[in-house]
Symmetry: C2
């Protein structure tokens, strides 16, 4: 079964290269040569570069979203009150567990998520929303319920503030960490950074009007 192998090697290489340089800055020739496969293999197996990009996202977003939904199911079944902190903690914990299980680099996925938003590839945004939008609407709904007394519009803006803080810092984690290390000699693990992020994000959601 060589097919699965070629497809996997292409996805592995594309994932790394896209995260490092972005989509348009990464050529199919670079991908196929680092994957050790023929140039035509991308178009043969995926159809086009666009579809390859979507496949890269699908491979990590599908299991991650499923885990998140399962976690939300569990939390809701216990029907103890769901605090915002707990929900954020669940979100980050699921993300980390999912990525580490597959032995992949969490920052890389944050970089990819960031690219999906900033690098305005319209097709990608549409693909992600249509495929995973419902699950994240559900998360937002639960979070909103944990924050009574917040009007919907303010809530949604703060949700985006939080999303921005998360994606931006984690996708630049290596760069920021290097700066802090040089200035203060302090190493920061990703774990520690998330432990800083959760209470900070929660405080932002809870801020007085």
């Amino acid at each position: 079964m060589t097919q699965t192998d070629t497809v996997g090697r292409i996805l592995d290489a594309a994932e790394v290269l896209f995260a490092e340089r972005g989509f348009t800055e990464t050529s199919l020739r670079t991908i196929t040569s680092t994957a050790g496969v023929n140039l035509a293999a991308v178009n043969y197996h995926f159809g086009s570069k666009k579809e390859l990009i979507q496949a890269v996202f699908e491979r990590f977003l599908t299991p991650f979203t499923r885990s998140l939904v399962e976690e939300l199911d569990r939390r809701e079944a216990m029907d103890e009150p769901l605090s915002a902190e707990r929900l954020l903690d669940s979100l980050y914990r699921v993300a980390m567990a999912n990525l580490e299980r597959e032995g992949r680099n969490p920052q890389r996925f944050m970089r990819l998520l960031g690219l999906a938003y900033t690098q305005s590839q319209g097709h990608l945004r549409r693909f992600i929303v249509s495929r995973y939008g419902d699950s994240y609407q559900r998360f937002a709904g639960l979070l909103s319920k944990a924050l009574p007394g917040l009007d919907p519009v303010t809530f949604y803006w703060r949700l985006y503030f939080m999303l921005g803080a998360t994606i931006f810092t984690l996708s630049s984690f290596d760069a920021i960490e290097a700066i802090l290390k040089e200035d203060f000699g302090a190493e920061s693990s990703l774990q520690e950074t998330l432990e800083r992020l959760v209470p900070a994000a929660a405080a932002m959601l809870h801020a007085d009007l």
Copy 2:
């Protein structure tokens, strides 16, 4: 004096197009044709595409940074205690005033700032840090002084959280606004969004450890 005119037209067109599509997705031919000038004009006046990108940033970052420094001078001269809220408010106010004065679109510059960070054009990041780094170190220093009892590493992480929330949301302002309008029928002005952002960001900086 046709020279100034051509240079200005190129900068105007490049500014808009870069913000809309990113750097690599915008070709010199697109820029020169929407600017109504000859293709060779870019290389003639700026040298290369890289230097054009830097020139676009220089044109709006230089006056903005100067205004910010002047504002900080004024605030410090009054030597009343500088709260974090006041500092953030100064920052946003200066940014808006600077951009509106020139009749340009504030979101566009946030998009450009976001691109400067995400689209990992190394040369741009180096250019900005070397040119404007000192001024922003000073802002960070004042903000840090307004938040005693916060260890430096946590402070800097929260500073990046804040930066991420700001750049991310404001650079996607139009998209987010469209979503909120569809879901809640609520229009949000940029002014209102900043008035939501300031207290939220301040709460994040002040969060308990």
